[in-house]
């Protein structure tokens, strides 16, 4: 459909990012494809080490070199392949068109500068504003992200701020140039629960104000349920299921997603049941098998997934699953949430 195509602001195709370590090649991201629509919030979920963060860092080409390298794929943003751009062009995109919020606000601010100074930096770097203008502009930003007494706090140093306030400052820095994409890499992991909610509300609110898209990376399924429009579930460097948030929560079709859903505590559960963790551990990303990577932990193995990795197929409209038995889940042949 032509209309939806125009709506795509970012398209990642078969992205592969490998790390060349002494022990061997770590295939951290191994063929990730997704797209991001205008004004949409996309959630990327998965357990630690499944390649969520590396995917995000790859988009901005911030993979630590020379250990890490993007070995394949395309990242199309505004008609250009980010993987083919030079360092100068990338610097113009980073923090300007695409910006990023990091996990730990305690360490993401430079301790020797005042917070005001750091918010000003992205304005000075990208918009070449004069100092006075940048000052006024960054005061506005600090007000926008809800820093109380922002005029005084402008001249405070990061260590004088609490974690939540620092994350607000990080957000102010990230949205300074009204980017079209905001990547949030576990933005609330380091914060306590009440502050988490505030920060997420703030991001959601700002998304509507600035008309940007958000990629939110998290392992908190609750966060995804509330804020994301679509969700990509990753496992061992690959997307295993990609669909709308409702589909992922109510009609999961990949055994891994189903397992994830079963291992979440729910307040509305009638019976007091034990959580059902997924058995086993994720595979080492060095020497990945030819077969389905989830096979070792899967209850629904078949002969086909032993031979080769199941491709990500569109099983129903906008619902992608990489499992040969996805259709059986869909048609109810296999009971999802039974034992």
């Amino acid at each position: 459909m032509a209309e939806t195509d125009n709506n795509k602001i970012l398209e990642v195709k078969d992205l592969k990012t490998y790390f060349y370590t002494e022990d061997g090649v770590v295939k951290a991201v191994n063929g990730v494809s997704f797209d991001l629509k205008k004004g949409e919030t996309l959630g990327i979920v998965g357990e630690t080490g499944c390649g969520k963060s590396v995917t995000a860092l790859s988009i901005l080409r911030l993979i630590p070199q020379p250990i890490g390298r993007i070995v394949g794929g395309e990242i199309i943003f505004e008609g250009k392949d980010l993987l083919k751009l030079g360092e100068k062009d990338l610097q113009n995109i980073r923090g300007n068109r695409i910006s990023m919020i990091f996990q730990d606000p305690m360490t993401s601010l430079n301790p020797v500068y005042t917070v005001g100074n750091q918010v000003m930096e992205s304005l000075v770097v990208h918009r070449k504003l004069k100092k006075e203008e940048a000052r006024r502009e960054s005061m506005k930003l600090l007000e926008m992200v809800g820093i109380p007494e922002f005029k005084r706090r402008f001249n405070s140093y990061p260590h004088e701020f609490s974690g939540g306030m620092r994350q607000r400052v990080m957000i102010a820095m990230a949205i300074a140039n009204s980017p079209s994409i905001l990547i949030a890499d576990e933005p609330t992991t380091a914060l306590d629960v009440t502050v988490q909610a505030q920060i997420l509300e703030l991001m959601d609110e700002l998304k509507y104000k600035t008309n940007s898209s958000i990629i939110i990376i998290t392992h908190d399924l609750g966060v995804v349920a509330k804020y994301a429009d679509r969700v990509m579930v990753m496992y061992a460097g690959r997307p295993v299921e990609f669909s709308s948030v409702d589909n992922i929560y109510y009609k999961p079709m990949h055994p891994y997603t189903i397992g994830l859903m079963k291992s979440v505590t729910r307040l509305d559960e009638k019976k007091r049941e034990k959580l059902k963790p997924i058995e086993g551990l994720p595979p080492s990303l060095i020497d990945l098998p030819e077969c389905c990577i989830f096979r070792a932990r899967c209850k629904y193995i078949c002969d086909e997934c032993k031979k080769e990795y199941p491709p990500l197929i569109e099983i129903e409209k906008d619902h992608f699953v990489s499992c040969y038995r996805g259709r059986e889940f869909m048609e109810g042949i296999i009971e999802r949430f039974g034992n």
Binding site: L60, T107, E121
Partner: protein, 299 residues
């Protein structure tokens, strides 16, 4: 209607004057001020710099003026530190000698800091081959005993004050580069550097605006202490006769000249020696205090 007083307060808030803020360096300064020994060191250093600047006003005599009939006098009201063999006033010579020591200390260390920062940054930030090459060259410099290296360079370049700057400056870069490299290596992997990169900052900007200010503390400490070392090396070179040339007054040279008369005229040696001791002590105390001030956890 706001009163004038209120407006003033608003203005202060606006400009951020009133709000107490504590930057890393302000904090360090606060701690430094509480450290008595460090403040003693700082006073010595400031006093010395003042003496060097105002030497002509303080010194009662011309330091190279010979008064024949006053030769080899002990300390007295006329000649506070006595006179030397050629009848020159030792007090005036010690005063003027501070100029050479301070110049050597500041300029030579300045040269090593500039060279060291450049190569340290190159090596720490970019790593790879440049790192390996620079650090191996630094190893070569470390392999030379400091004084021996200085003597070798001075022999090649010939005596003279400018050559002393060069010799000591070149010899000192390796340690500065090492220290700077290691602090860059720690800072470089901090998240705020990654955040700055995600913000679109260029390499240059990241090095100068984010890495430098955060890795400066150890350099300040080391450079301060190194001024003391540089002064000693200059004194040693002058003592050996390949440093500052006569008749320019230099403490090391004064020691060398009066060595033979230590039994009969100990003051000739005592006062220049004392000057060197106090000066170096001042810089070391200050450096020590700075280190404690920058790292409050260290005790």
């Amino acid at each position: 209607m706001a009163t004038i007083k209120e407006l003033e307060v608003l203005e202060e808030i606006e400009t951020g004057k009133k709000y107490s803020r504590t930057s890393l360096y302000k904090d360090a300064w606060k701690r430094l001020r509480r450290n008595k020994l460090a403040m003693l060191g700082l006073s010595i250093v400031i006093l010395l710099i003042l003496i060097a600047i105002f030497a002509p006003l303080i010194a009662p005599y011309d330091p190279i003026l010979r008064i024949k009939e006053d030769s080899s006098l002990g300390p007295s009201i006329n000649h506070l530190f006595g006179t030397d063999l050629l009848g020159r006033d030792i007090f005036s010579r010690v005063i003027y000698g501070s100029r050479i020591s301070i110049e050597v200390g500041v300029i030579a260390v300045g040269i090593s800091v500039i060279i060291g920062l450049f190569f340290g940054a190159l090596s720490g930030y970019f790593g790879g081959i440049s790192d390996a090459v620079i650090m191996r060259i630094a190893d070569i410099f470390f392999a030379f005993p400091y004084i021996l290296g200085a003597i070798a360079i001075m022999t090649i370049l010939g005596p003279g004050i400018v050559n002393i700057f060069i010799a000591i400056g070149i010899l000192g870069w390796a340690s500065i580069a090492r220290i700077f490299r290691s602090s860059i290596l720690t800072i470089k992997n901090k998240e705020y550097i990654e955040a700055a990169r995600a913000l679109g900052a260029s390499n240059n900007r990241i090095i100068t605006k984010h890495i430098f200010p955060n890795s400066f503390a150890p350099i300040i400490v080391y450079a301060t202490m190194n001024v003391g070392t540089a002064i000693i090396v200059e004194a040693a070179l002058s003592f050996l006769g390949i440093g500052v040339q006569p008749p320019t007054p230099a403490w090391g040279k004064m020691l060398a000249d009066s060595m033979a008369y230590i039994d009969n005229a100990p003051w000739m040696m005592f006062f220049p020696g004392l000057a060197i001791l106090i000066t170096v002590l001042g810089f070391v105390l200050l450096g020590d205090g700075l280190r404690d001030a920058f790292d409050p956890k260290l005790k």
